[in-house]
């Protein structure tokens, strides 16, 4: 501490009559504070995942972690604003309760078991192929239908367009018609 630190102490300055809402509130610590976004390695231009207004978000990343998500001031929709959910979306992607490993529950099982992702993918593919064959309908009431009623899908409405597109394309090619979305219900 250099000489005169006492006289720069905010409490002293304010007691001496300086306005506590101005310079007199500053300390060395506050002078050293930097915004979290300043040191970001990258900024991605994104969109809020909650409601359908489509507010612009800026996603700040440093050292491989999301450090901040803020409203995008350039957006003509939101002009930089976010609601409580949008403002909390950093927590959505970083909170510790988020599940990050595959879990498996065997028939009649009472607990989850761990499962390797690649194995899970193979097991699911096997089940789709088997169930499709077992439930295949070539005709229904004399009409050609070439479909399966044994496999169904339900998607949420936070799916990307590209994701919905591949889902519908694959299901349809497999003959699975019971494909539904939050958009109906």
């Amino acid at each position: 501490m250099g000489a005169g630190w006492l006289s720069r102490w905010p409490v002293i300055r304010q007691l001496k009559g300086e306005d506590g809402r101005g310079q007199a509130a500053r300390s060395a610590r506050t002078d050293a504070l930097r915004p979290r976004v300043e040191g970001a390695d990258t900024v991605a231009r994104s969109v809020c995942p909650y409601c359908a207004v489509g507010c612009g978000q800026l996603v700040y990343v440093k050292d491989g972690r999301v450090t901040q998500i803020e409203g995008d001031p350039g957006s003509p929709i939101s002009r930089g604003r976010l609601c409580p959910k949008g403002s909390a979306s950093k927590q959505l992607v970083t909170h510790p309760g988020r599940q990050t490993t595959v879990l498996y529950r065997r028939p009649h099982g009472t607990e989850w078991e761990p499962l390797d992702l690649e194995t899970a993918m193979d097991m699911i593919a096997d089940r789709v192929v088997r169930t499709r064959r077992e439930t295949w309908q070539q005709t229904h009431e004399g009409q050609e239908v070439r479909r399966t009623l044994g496999i169904a899908g339900l998607g949420g409405a936070t799916l990307d367009n590209e994701e919905n597109y591949l889902m519908k394309k694959l299901y349809t090619a497999l003959g699975a018609i019971q494909v539904e979305n939050q958009a109906r219900i």
């Binding site: 969109v47 995942p49 909650y50 409601c51 359908a52 207004v53 507010c55 990343v61 998500i69 939101s78 002009r79 604003r81 609601c83 409580p84 403002s87 909390a88 927590q91 959505l92 992607v93 909170h95 309760g97 988020r98 599940q99 990050t100 595959v102 009472t110 992702l117 993918m121 699911i124 192929v129 064959r133 009431e141 239908v145 070439r146 399966t148 009623l149 044994g150 169904a152 899908g153 339900l154 998607g155 949420g156 936070t158 799916l159 990307d160 367009n161 590209e162 597109y165 591949l166 090619a173 497999l174 003959g175 018609i177 019971q178 494909v179 539904e180 979305n181 939050q182 109906r184 219900i185």
Partner: protein, 833 residues
């Protein structure tokens, strides 16, 4: 809107600051009600009475925008002489079959349009079975481009006169009796809406699922459309009917649908009994006039996108590869299939039906009867964990060890860990850049379906059953260590290409001869000239208010649909104040992309036999309709009538004062033991409930309850009741209440306020209970609570199969609900009572 779309609501507040008068009509008082000029409390399920009374007010006082109505709507069109209105048949239209509960709509047609015996009828029974309205309606199903009309609007069979008769008993007194809105408040609304419409001014309506989730939901929106067309508020700045959709890409999920009855771009899935060839399908699916007359180009281009070189003219472009529908294959039919054991495997992707869908018990009984279930989400949602912690485990209806369902939980990537587009509520596609890789096993749904498809294709045989999957185009570049498929490549496939691989710039380039491919015709142009238009981010400060250079709106980057209607028939702005798109003598111009052929002059008249858009005159702004007109009256395409009519909700404590017909005669019920109903007018269930959302939570809570910030702001499930109701029942603020329906009973904290008000319906008092539905038993939530949707019955709108979530009946008891099997005993007593 302030509650559920808060950032969008800033524009309403700005408009109000500039003098706009804002009304809020809602059964519950929300943050919106607190910030408007006038809040009108309404009984849930009665909006068609209110809208019908506004229509009646406009018509009986001659307040319609006559020049607009004559030129741009079907007001003058003559209707079949065999048509009978609900006024003639005490709440039914002509053509109703009591036995099947379905309408034959042939008498609703325009004069001269009735199909002959050989011609299959559009809409109606078969149509309703396949939930066709969201495709047919959009398409302008078969009606003549130039039907007979009476421009004097005096012929009793013209639409204008039919409307007048149909709504003549929708009076302010009826609004008071059924909605609980006093006449002076109705008149204030009616005067404001009409005074703020016309050449110089426009009025906008904003709605959400409070209008759609009813057994007569489609007709709610239709009622608003009639009012807005009569007042000249469509296709003009400041006008319209805005659907505020509740999820980031729920609009996109409809455009590129994961919906059983649709293919991308509102193209109908083929039906086994109607469509045996591409020609036959195209012939039956809509009219040849209006923009849908081009549908062959859209369907063939889609088939080319999916099956590439395998799709040729000789094999009908693989049209036979599309599986066929035979009826209702919607969500609730699927759940019943699960309970019955026909549905064996189920993918649930970013969705939580165990909490989000009506009659949660039926949902969970279905899940418990599957062979296998794949759940993909950010957290362990209730749909993934039902086998250990569903309410049915507590009651003893299910036992974990007896549930044979094999469950895979695969963690999902979040919105910042993948790239792709959302389509927001204004049809705007916005590309999201990827900020970082997802952690651990988390992957995008794009990754999942792409790699699942690859694995399935490796396991296919060489027979005909596997041919469509074998020949499917499924080659996307893989990026990075996680081998993510390139989302931009998928978007380019959606955009479409010419035979030489060039990315198409406009849907007008699509060809019916197989020389173009396009995954979703309405999205054609999103990658025009190789530029990802959805990724454009010119700040609002550097462009005009229409902001055409931020993202990309379908179709063709048009921001206001049908904007030809913003000019008068001669192409001049209706007024300087409302100037938008207009004819400058050589072309249509303005701050938006004209929703019209750019060089089609206002005086263009179609030659005899013209097809598609060429069959529409230069004065026909509603280009998707076969006659280019806004439809006040819908001659075909709806399964429950050509005009919105008030029916009480399936479960209502109030008798329909307008007709002998109590509820929508064409509504879909599911009459099974898993889905018992409260009888209408039952004294056991005297209260009206409605469900709702809160700012701090999102749908079933999977994206909000695990977040401490949000959980602390709204920690507990509650029901909001009026002081009068609390007094009547002995409910205490902060204490517990048990809500009972024939499905189940749940417990909620009680919030007693003056915001919910008892409604006086001609001397009778009706109490309403408002329940946000964000809670469940798990979801990795730091907060949990009983599931409100468990109370709901499965009863559906007959056009689109959306459940009636927003108006039902219940009983309310002070205190907590019984535990274990005692809960089942309580419900049994109510059902027997």
């Amino acid at each position: 809107m302030a509650e559920c779309h808060p950032v969008g609501y800033q524009w309403v507040m700005e408009a109000r600051a500039r003098g706009a008068k804002v009304f809020h009509i809602d059964p519950r008082f929300s943050r919106t009600s607190a910030t408007v000029d006038r809040y009108l409390a309404i009984r849930a399920g009665t909006d068609i009475v209110l809208l019908g009374a506004l229509i009646n007010y406009v018509l009986s006082n001659g307040l319609d925008f006559r020049e607009y109505v004559l030129a741009y709507t079907n007001a003058a069109t003559l209707v079949n002489r065999d048509f009978r209105d609900t006024e003639d048949l005490d709440g039914l239209f002509s053509g109703f079959d009591e036995e099947t509960g379905r309408y034959d709509p042939s008498t609703w047609a325009y004069e001269g349009d009735v199909p002959g015996e050989e011609e299959p009828v559009e809409g109606g029974e078969r149509h309703a079975e396949a939930a066709g309205s969201d495709s047919y309606g959009a398409r302008g199903a078969g009606a003549s481009a130039t039907p007979p009309s009476d421009p004097t609007l005096t012929d009793p069979r013209c639409v204008y006169q039919i409307l007048k008769r149909h709504y003549s008993r929708y009076t302010p007194e009826m609004v008071e009796e059924l909605c609980g809105i006093p006449p002076e408040l109705f008149l204030e609304l009616a005067e404001a809406v009409t005074a703020n419409s016309g050449r110089e001014r426009t009025t906008a309506w904003v709605y959400s699922v409070g209008w759609t989730q009813h057994s007569v939901g489609v007709q709610y929106i239709r009622a608003a459309a009639i009012l807005q067309l009569l007042l000249g508020n469509m296709g003009r700045p400041g006008g319209g009917i805005m659907a505020l959709r509740g999820h980031a890409s729920i609009q996109g999920s409809t455009d590129i649908p994961t919906l059983f009855n649709l293919l991308p771009g509102y193209i109908a899935m083929p039906h086994a009994h109607r469509h045996d060839s591409l020609d036959h399908y195209l012939e039956q699916e809509g009219a040849d006039t209006g923009w849908w007359g081009n549908r062959r180009a859209y369907v063939v281009s889609l088939l080319k996108a999916w099956w590439g070189d395998a799709a040729t003219e000789a094999n009908d472009y693989c049209f036979d590869y599309l599986p066929r529908l035979t009826g209702d294959h919607g969500h609730y039919a699927t759940v019943m299939g699960q309970i019955d054991g026909t549905v064996k495997g189920y993918f649930v992707v970013g969705e939580n039906p165990a909490v989000g869908s009506a009659n949660g018990k039926a949902q969970r009984l279905g899940l418990a009867n599957l062979d296998w279930l794949v759940v993909r989400d950010l957290m362990l949602v209730e749909t993934a964990t039902f086998w250990k912690d569903a309410p049915e485990i507590e009651t003893g209806e299910l036992r974990t060890e007896e549930i044979g369902t094999e469950v895979f939980f695969l963690p999902a990537a979040s919105h910042v860990e993948k790239e792709g587009t959302f389509t927001n509520t204004q049809r705007l596609l916005q590309w999201r850049e990827k900020a970082l890789d997802p952690p651990g096993d988390c992957r995008s749904d794009l990754w999942f379906y792409y790699h699942l498809g690859k694995r399935i294709r490796q396991r296919l045989g060489d027979d005909d059953i596997d041919r469509p999957a074998r020949e499917l185009t499924w080659d996307y570049p893989e990026i990075g260590a996680q081998r993510d498929p390139d989302a931009a490549a998928v978007l380019r496939e959606i955009n479409g290409t010419a035979a030489d691989g060039r990315l198409l710039a406009s849907l007008r380039e699509l060809k019916p001869d197989g020389s173009t491919s396009c995954g979703c015709w309405i999205y054609c142009g999103v990658y025009a000239d190789g530029v990802n238009m959805a990724a454009r981010r010119t700040p609002h400060t550097e462009q005009g208010p229409v902001a055409l250079e931020w993202g990309w709106a379908w179709p063709a980057n048009r921001r206001i649909l049908y904007n030809r209607a913003s000019a008068d028939p001669q192409g001049r702005p209706w007024s300087e104040r409302k100037k938008y798109v207009y004819w400058d003598g050589a072309k249509w111009t303005g701050p938006d992309v004209p929703d019209f052929e750019e060089d089609k002059a206002p005086d263009y008249r179609p030659p005899e036999g013209a097809k598609a858009e060429h069959a529409l005159a230069g004065t026909d702004p509603f280009i998707m309709q076969s006659d280019g007109r806004g439809w006040l009256y819908v001659p075909s395409g709806l399964s429950d009538g050509p005009l919105p009519t008030h029916y009480e909700p399936h479960e209502s404590p109030v008798r329909n004062a307008l007709y002998g017909q109590q509820a929508n005669p064409a509504r879909r019920t599911v009459d099974r033991p898993e889905n018992p109903y409260n009888p209408a007018l039952s004294p056991r269930f005297p209260y009206v409930y409605t469900t709702s959302r809160l700012t701090e939570h999102h749908t079933t809570g999977a994206m909000s309850r695990p977040l401490p910030y949000l959980a602390e702001l709204q920690p507990e499930a509650f029901c909001e009741v009026s002081r009068e109701m609390a007094e009547e029942l002995g409910l205490e603020n902060g204490a517990w209440a048990t809500i009972v329906t024939a499905r189940t009973a749940i417990e909620l904290r009680v919030l007693v306020t003056g915001r919910v008000r008892p409604l006086r319906l001609n001397g009778r008092t009706v109490h309403q209970v408002v329940m946000p539905y964000h809670w469940g038993y798990s979801s990795g939530g730091v907060i949990t609570g009983d599931i409100v949707n468990d109370l709901l019955p499965i009863v559906l709108d007959p056009n689109v199969y959306i459940q009636e979530s927003k108006a039902g009946t219940c009983d309310v008891l002070p205190g907590r609900r019984p535990r274990g099997s005692a809960l089942l005993d309580l419900i049994e007593r109510y059902r027997d009572g």
